[in-house]
């Protein structure tokens, strides 16, 4: 196993585990307000200090892990659910279908992601699951593009002709013949999107359009800590650092996984 995949799995695995176990391992209640413990710097009791309401930053961070991961993964699932079929159809049918789907994707891509997220959320009251859908929606075009380019190349392969020569249905060809071969680049792209989605989700929460107080989303934590950054920098630093670590970890996994997932890469031996 390549080193980067190991390192990535270690980082992501640890974070996921911590997030899952958060309610049991958190040293303090994450949402109990206590005016006597406001702005305490990191100490033996409060490892990462406390925030403006006297809540333990470490406990909030651990609970927030779940929100951030859920945001990243569910948003990416949304963009995969729409982007993959769109890309498959555009790459396989070509011509007018391709133009229509891909030009629509271009329009979507022309709008800055944060604006698009804002647009979706501004018209309705914000909630976490809606943020996830909005973020997923924003990242449909890149997923569709990657799927399309792989499909374009695969559609010319003779095994697709062979499938047509035994009268396979179009959906069989798209999802059973082409899709399994499209996974390696898609997984890399999707892992990249998970990180983007976490960042965008946090950004939206930061702007007050995602998770609502008192929940402890990382973006929301940074947003709330913003006013006290000169007095208590640890409140903003901890979630920022955690986010950074998670993004790096997921990227390492995505890159390392590509090599493992493609059987052809493993088989390649020197040329004659």
């Amino acid at each position: 196993m390549p080193l980067q995949l190991k390192a990535g799995l270690l980082i992501v695995g640890t974070i996921v585990l911590l997030g899952l176990l958060a309610p049991w391992i958190a040293p303090h209640p994450w949402d109990t307000i206590s005016m006597r413990t406001r702005f305490l710097p990191p100490s033996a009791t409060y490892w990462l200090g406390t925030d403006e309401y006297g809540r333990d930053v470490l406990s909030r961070l651990l609970m927030g892990t779940r929100l951030s991961l859920a945001m990243g993964v569910s948003a990416t699932l949304v963009s995969l659910a729409f982007g993959v079929p769109i890309g498959l159809a555009a790459g396989y049918f070509r011509g007018k279908t391709d133009e229509l789907l891909m030009r629509s994707a271009d329009v979507l891509m022309a709008v800055p992601p944060i604006m698009l997220g804002l647009l979706v959320l501004a018209v309705t009251p914000p909630s976490l699951w809606k943020t996830a859908v909005a973020v997923g929606f924003v990242y449909i075009p890149p997923i569709a593009r990657v799927t399309r380019s792989v499909t374009l190349a695969l559609a010319n392969e003779e095994f697709i002709q062979a499938a047509r020569a035994r009268a396979e249905s179009t959906s069989y060809i798209l999802f059973r013949e082409i899709l399994p071969n499209a996974w390696p680049p898609l997984i890399v792209e999707a892992s990249l999107r998970v990180t983007y989605a976490i960042l965008l989700g946090s950004a939206l929460s930061f702007l007050g359009l995602g998770a609502q107080p008192p929940s402890s989303d990382w973006g929301l934590m940074i947003s709330e800590a913003r006013s006290f950054i000169d007095r208590a920098p640890w409140i903003a630093l901890a979630p920022g650092f955690a986010m950074c670590l998670l993004v790096i970890g997921i990227n390492l996994v995505g890159d390392g996984a590509r090599e493992r997932l493609d059987p052809r890469l493993k088989a390649r031996v020197g040329k004659s």
Partner: protein, 625 residues
């Protein structure tokens, strides 16, 4: 002039170091041509790269020297190597379609070396480039000099590349499969040109090829490479007439010959040894019918008569021929052809491709814009008929429309016009959904074994899917059917669990054939089924297809650019040229007395390994006498 001494080359790969060449020694005498012959994986391209000191960074040379005129090329620094390459040694690559830079004019690429190495001015380089283009037989060299590569045909590009290689007046010309990507008629022209240059310039050449017929026309000496070792070396005619090493014997026996009619070809069983851990003894022993206990010991190149052979039994095998297993002698098991309705009847089939559409088709007539799309008639009013159990060989060069025809018959490409009937059922004019019965009766085998099998499916899934798709057996019986099909194409049952990348090219092609047979078809389009395979493997696949026809009574449309392969399996031959069938007839008749001028050209262009030499040099000699 060039001497390779004890050269070992290893490539570092993720799976371990692969030994591409093991202690190879070769000598090219000044003014002569040495051909290095071998199949894929033999290390022949590595020889060319080593001679040019162009080995990639992942290559290591634990031993050996490459002496050019006494200096070791491998030890030179980058600067000196570059000077040597451009001026005294030149290389012509295999694929003229990818070697030329598409955004530079031909003259710039031909004259590049002159400007760089000789300090020619641009004008002088241009005029010299035009002279060179003229010398390599390009008509209207001035116009070609100004053209871009995409405006030239494959043959013209290869000529331009040779002109570029000759520009710096090299003493040694290295040609790595220079004609493999070209059609036979073009190949014949390029070989004529090379013979001509040999005679006129006294060039020394190192010629790398897998094609013994081509080599015969051009080389004085041959070195046969197998699994990174020279197994036999000597004078060309001697080796071709009386091969001594078993591998050379097998290779020569496996080559389909014109004028042999429908016989089974000899084939070499097995595959190359794993070069990550090359066997200590004879590397050919596992595939060799003559192997004895002593074959397991390291083999030395030893002198046998007029050549060197790496085989401990060389002396006793001099007069022994490669054994031809006459499995299922042709004709005996043939299903009796009844004069019933043809399995395939095609009439007036046409397909035109539009190459440029939209703005690409826009051109100007004076100031007036007109739409003038470029159209190519790929298939033009074609009519063919195939009886049940009959093999129709379809021969043509690249671009003749043979693949389009094969796919249009199965409606994988929608034809513009014409009627198609398969097994008595009209196929043309029906919607794709109504074609399911036809798709079961008619199948297809593809050219490229790497592309025709889905890399993410096991052999069991690949071969079993058609059975499930057409519900030919209850799901419990599918594994048994798959095993029977693998047995039919002579693959062991445990191959069912393999993925395509775990098999060799020939084995993949067998899986492709098994998949086509899974629907119990009565007609199969074989689209260049052996073109991507080595000669020794090609023979086995052609034999297999012939056996299957005899046992199952399947009819084939056997498409190939190689008329000698077609002649071995086809009952009738149809010759295709620019979208039209120019000649059809019984195979023997077409081969013996071709009527159409194009068929005659095609037949005379095929390089052969026996019979009278067909080369220009030889023709001239005959004319002089």
């Amino acid at each position: 002039m060039l001497a390779i001494e004890d050269l070992t080359v290893r490539y570092r790969t993720p799976g371990g170091a692969v030994e591409a060449l093991s202690s190879v020694s070769l000598k090219v005498r000044t003014g002569s041509t040495l051909a290095v012959v071998g199949e894929s994986g033999s290390g022949k391209s590595t020889v060319a790269l080593a001679a040019m000191a162009l080995l990639p960074p992942e290559a290591q040379t634990p031993s050996g020297r490459v002496l050019f005129d006494g200096t070791d090329v491998l030890k030179l620094d980058a600067q000196r190597r570059r000077r040597l390459r451009g001026s005294r040694i030149a290389l012509v690559f295999q694929d003229p379609f990818s070697v030329l830079n598409p955004s530079l004019r031909i003259a710039e690429q031909v004259g590049e070396g002159l400007v760089y190495h000789r300090g020619f001015s641009d004008e002088r380089a241009l005029s010299r480039a035009i002279e060179l283009l003229d010398e390599v037989g390009i008509a209207n060299p001035r116009a070609v000099a100004r053209a871009y590569p995409h405006e030239l045909s494959g043959g013209m590009r290869q000529r331009a590349l040779i002109a570029g290689a000759l520009a710096a007046e090299p003493e040694l010309l290295i040609l790595d499969e220079p004609t493999t990507a070209l059609d036979v008629t073009i190949e014949a022209q390029i070989l004529d040109l090379l013979e001509d240059l040999q005679a006129r310039r006294g060039l020394t050449m190192l010629f790398i090829s897998h094609n013994l017929g081509v080599v015969r026309r051009i080389a004085d000496d041959i070195a046969v490479l197998y699994a990174g070792q020279v197994v036999e070396e000597g004078a060309t005619e001697r080796i071709l007439q009386a091969p001594v090493h078993p591998y050379t014997k097998g290779l020569l026996a496996a080559i389909p010959r014109l004028g042999r009619g429908r016989t089974r070809l000899a084939s070499i069983p097995g595959r190359l040894p794993d070069l990550r851990a090359p066997p200590a003894g004879c590397r050919f022993a596992p595939r060799c019918p003559f192997a004895v206990a002593a074959s397991a010991l390291p083999q030395e190149l030893r002198h046998v008569g007029d050549r060197n052979v790496r085989c401990c039994r060389a002396q006793e095998l001099v007069a022994t021929a490669w054994p031809v297993q006459d499995e299922a002698a042709s004709g005996t098991l043939r299903a009796v052809l009844s004069p019933s309705e043809p399995i395939l009847r095609v009439d007036g089939l046409s397909k035109t491709f539009t190459l440029t559409r939209g703005f690409g088709a826009l051109s100007f007539e004076g100031w007036r814009p007109v739409m003038r799309p470029v159209r190519v008639k790929a298939v033009d009013e074609v009519a063919i008929e195939i009886a049940p159990g009959e093999v129709l060989g379809l021969v043509g060069e690249s671009g003749s429309g043979k693949t389009t025809l094969g796919r249009a018959i199965l409606r994988l490409i929608e034809p513009d016009r014409g009627s198609i009937r398969i097994a008595g059922e009209a196929v043309s004019g029906k919607p794709q959904k109504a074609l399911v019965p036809m798709r079961r009766a008619a199948q297809i085998v593809f050219q490229n074994p790497d592309s025709s099998l889905n890399p993410r499916k096991t052999v069991r899934e690949l071969v079993g899917r058609p059975i499930e798709r057409f519900r030919l057996a209850p799901s419990g019986e599918v594994p048994g059917r798959v095993r029977a099909l693998l047995d039919l194409v002579r693959l062991p049952a445990h191959y069912a669990d393999r993925y395509p990348h775990q098999m060799s090219g020939g084995e993949k092609q067998r899986v492709g054939i098994a998949r086509a047979l899974a629907t119990e078809p009565r007609f199969i389009v074989c689209d260049e089924p052996v073109s991507a395979l080595d000669v020794s493997v090609q023979a086995a696949i052609v034999n297999l297809l012939a056996d299957l026809r005899d046992r199952l009574g399947v009819a084939y449309l056997f498409i190939s650019h190689d008329i000698s392969v077609v002649a071995h399996i086809a009952d009738r031959i149809a010759v295709m040229y620019r979208g039209r069938i120019v000649e059809t007839g019984p195979a023997e008749e077409v081969m013996r007395a071709p009527r159409d001028p194009y068929t005659i050209t095609l037949l005379s262009a095929v390089p052969t390994v026996d019979g009278p030499p067909l080369g220009k040099r030889a023709r001239d000699e005959i004319a002089q006498r």
